[in-house]
Point group: D2
Chain length 332, copies 4
């Protein structure tokens, strides 16, 4: 009985610290999304179900049929994944609890025994072949690239012998028992996709000192002035942006939603003050979660930016103590 | 001989007012991009060649093999088309000379004589079927949706009898002589795609009083402060933003590029002053063109926002005259 | 014994609500400062001692020889009273507990029986005669104006018969039993002087909903940027300025102190948040008191400016409650 | 005939480069104002007439009875000289052509043969005795200080034998043939007064690379927002403030005038752009002159602040050239 199962799941999830056990991800199997999900420890011990679309994955979480969904948020080549942003901004609230940044390590895979020189047809999702254009031209200039609908489908096609080789994710090659003819064949070696793990609302994961907070911020009409106000609310509290994107809301002409990723955690004094400011000056603000920043190997050199002068936690505590003294009349 | 042909084309294009005659667009045939191109008068009398990718289309213009390329820039559902932004921001400069905003009027089309009740299979690009999910559930709940690689391929599949029906653009239905079982079947009736016509650099089209200017703006490190500076440069000149998106440049960690669409024309005093300001405070600014704003029927109610108090062209002229008097010493 | 008296006074003052009983004011007797002090109810029942200078008056309070000092802060004609600002900004802290705005109602006064036509000599402080220049020219064009050192000295001189008449405050005329030949003779009929009542630090008077807070704010070097930061701290909390003045500190070149009067009370959430922000971004901030705004008759039409959209106390409470919900995970 | 004389003077003054020959200054003789005027080379060869008040001095220039007036603008101890600001902001326009910063070197002077130990009475203007309070207490603790109306009157009183000694300016001692008992007796050794030389409007003195521009800026109602706009106009052009003061205009409640001193010259591109911006966003702007910054000996260490990154003249020229290229279509 569906309702009772949902209820049971909710009560489990509402207990802070209860890890999710039933995961859904943007399918099909054998794509980068599945590979990203495998980096989440809890997912190794839980169930992992592919969904046909981002909407289906998130609706599964909303309905209580899954505890968490792993979906792509942005790709360093293709940009924001609009459908994920829209699905997060609308409908019943969901929150991001984790980000997973995965290098887009495209491989060229084929059935065992296939030599690179013998490859005449390559199955690939159009975005994948576009990102490997230079490599293909240099290494298999005479192969015909056949468009297929996903990286997983490309691997399956090579596995079944329909095509000589496939551009796919390493996980797709493994799943279809393909051998690697080449790896890291993308023209942009640093390309990454940023996935997020999304759950129903609950207490956010504890602050780590290097967290991000995602927001959907609605502002009206005069966009420069309104956007300046938003940035001033952040700037005066020393909150940095790591991403900003605008999208029309579709609800009314001249109304926009900005997706912001800010440094800091909702539990921080500084970000808390900034969030209250945004709440006051914006038409609407939807909180999309606070979660640890994922620092993958290639980005090891990128350190968290220290708080600007006067905006450290120590400065905040000092100012609060000073105000308390003023209010009590103890000036000296 | 390729080189000479390119040279000849360039000399023609360099003559202001010479309209482009050879057009390329993001293919295949029968998609919304072709439909958008057909709204450009000059394209009706010129050649129209589909390209396999945005990169191929733009490179064709860069090489002089085409005079102008029509490519998608953003979609009100799917968001920015990252590959177009990246291709415009890198490589040899290109400029936008026109925008075309096209309603995404998905239709359900089938061979003549097919009744809606008889439809068992529907060919559709995954983005198209996603955007029509509600309609499909309500009207053909039992039909199987088969993923294909483009709206044009869907129409072709229905035309050949492989599938009972197709979700496609009106132009795709017409090209394959399909009858319309239903039109405007998208769940978001106001969905639009914004295409741009891109040429090699040349004098921009003359100002119309309701123009847009597109920019790629590079800023460094501290993003709130730097972005505040950018917005202040615009705000103090009364220049409005209609779009802002951030993307990592990939060149170095912590370096970002913002794509901005601003109100105004590079020939305007006000925007000219703002552009100079951006040039001074940003790490780099790439000008992507000034062009008339396209006002399509559904947006008829959206008027150009009048200049804020003190920032009209009259105010600019008054202030310039006043400064000239100050400098000459004629105060009274 | 001085020390014990001071101690006793302090303990009284430290008890909130204990009204001051020993007042000092900028002398001599018979000037506007005494007249302003007489508008303070507690001063009617306490002692009122003239001081030779602002510094002497304030030092008397610091030493515990007086409970409160009434000194001029600014004059609508002469501007800020620099010595008062400096004395407040340096030395042991003092706080403003009340402001008194007094119309500068200069009168022409003479001994009983003197007719206006018979006035040949007019004693006046140079600032007073300057402010009445037009009236003197029109009504006693042939009288000689003799400079004296204060409005009180002018009245005394007329009372002793040394001069035929005096320009003075009404209280000076009354004290020396002079008759009024004319009143409201100042050329600017709306001229006012703003006095402040200053005490040793203690809990501020309770908020009234229409309060001012005075600050001395020290900023370093780059003055536009630093001053912009100060104003942004106020603006994002909807705190208005009613006065701003800059003075060099004298301590070091390029270091400045700004005297600000802001709307709001240190006990208000909004101003409290702004004060903490100033504390963090400024080199130093000295709190000079929160006190009710004095609304005198002539200014009856000037209403307190309502909080900007999104910045009312209700908005602050709403935002705080929202943040609490976010932190607890109760989003819906 | 007065009118003709004015006309003649005006025609002389209107010829750029014609130096003023008839000077007026705030009297009486023997004060710091006269001393300041003596530092102006042209004044050594012209006539020097004391005026009874700032208003009289400036009106003399307006009427053509003098070519230039030297009046105090601010004092590092006493603050702005309100009457000078008001007289500059109202009535027929006048412009500052030069500033003179004079150390306030108070001396104790007496007739020849008077020993310090024999001084029983000291004549002094109240502001002078206030500024020398510490010295008097330490060196002549038993002397009676007698208030007089000006530093010049103090010197005269000592010269006539009415008082034993005088606190006065060095020039006052010299004029009355007094000997110096002590010099630099002010408690703040760095105190200075800033005088300005004011003329009828004409071409400003040529830029020197280290100039100041004075403005009276009128803004309406919401003071933080309006003042933020003013500062943003300056900040985005890298114009620094060296002074800001607010005064109520008296014309209408809630209307204020700000007196600003900015770095730069009206002939500079950067300041010119900022001035135009102020003209557009302010209720009114009155230009009060561009003139070389006076760098006196004590301030020798204070260098002109270099333009912020991106705001040098070279940056401005680069940006202008870039914009010209954009407008012509030459992007590459």
């Amino acid at each position: 009985m569906k309702v009772r199962r949902s209820d049971r799941v909710r009560s489990l999830v509402d207990m802070p610290g209860t890890p999710p056990t039933r995961f859904v991800y943007l399918g099909p199997e054998g794509t980068f999304a599945e590979q990203a999900l495998r980096t989440v420890p809890a997912a190794e011990h839980g169930s992992r179900t592919p969904a046909r679309s981002v909407g289906e994955a998130l609706d599964g979480v909303r309905a209580g049929d899954a505890d968490a969904a792993l979906v792509p948020l942005e790709n360093s080549i293709g940009g924001a994944v609009g459908v994920t942003l829209d699905e997060m901004a609308e409908g019943e609230p969901l929150v991001i609890t984790r980000e997973v940044i995965l290098p887009v390590d495209f491989v060229l895979a084929a059935r065992a025994g296939t030599a690179l020189a013998a490859v005449r047809t390559v199955a690939a999702h159009p975005q994948a072949s576009t990102q490997c254009r230079g490599w293909l031209r240099d290494h298999v200039p005479d192969a015909v690239v056949v468009d297929v609908l996903s990286n997983g489908a490309a691997a399956a096609g090579a596995g079944s012998g329909e095509y000589d080789a496939a551009i796919c994710a390493p996980i797709g090659a493994a799943r279809h028992r393909l051998a690697l003819l080449a790896d890291k064949i993308a023209d942009h070696p640093d390309a990454v996709t940023r996935f997020v793990l999304v759950s129903r609302p609950g207490p956010p994961p504890p602050p780590t000192g290097d967290d991000l907070t995602s927001l959907a911020v609605y502002i009206a009409h005069d966009r420069v002035g309104a956007l300046l106000s938003v940035l001033m609310e952040l700037a005066v509290r020393g909150v940095n942006l790591t991403r900003i994107e605008s999208r029309p809301t579709g609800e009314a002409l001249g109304r926009y939603v900005f997706f912001l990723d800010c440094t800091g955690h909702v539990a921080d004094v500084r970000l808390g003050e900034a969030l209250q400011g945004l709440r006051r000056v914006c038409a609407d603000v939807r909180f999309l979660g606070s979660y640890p920043r994922h620092r993958w190997v290639e980005a090891a050199g990128e350190r968290p930016v220290p708080a600007p002068a006067g905006l450290s936690d120590v400065d905040y505590a000092d100012a609060a103590a000073w105000l308390a003294r003023l209010r009590s009349g103890e000036l000296s």
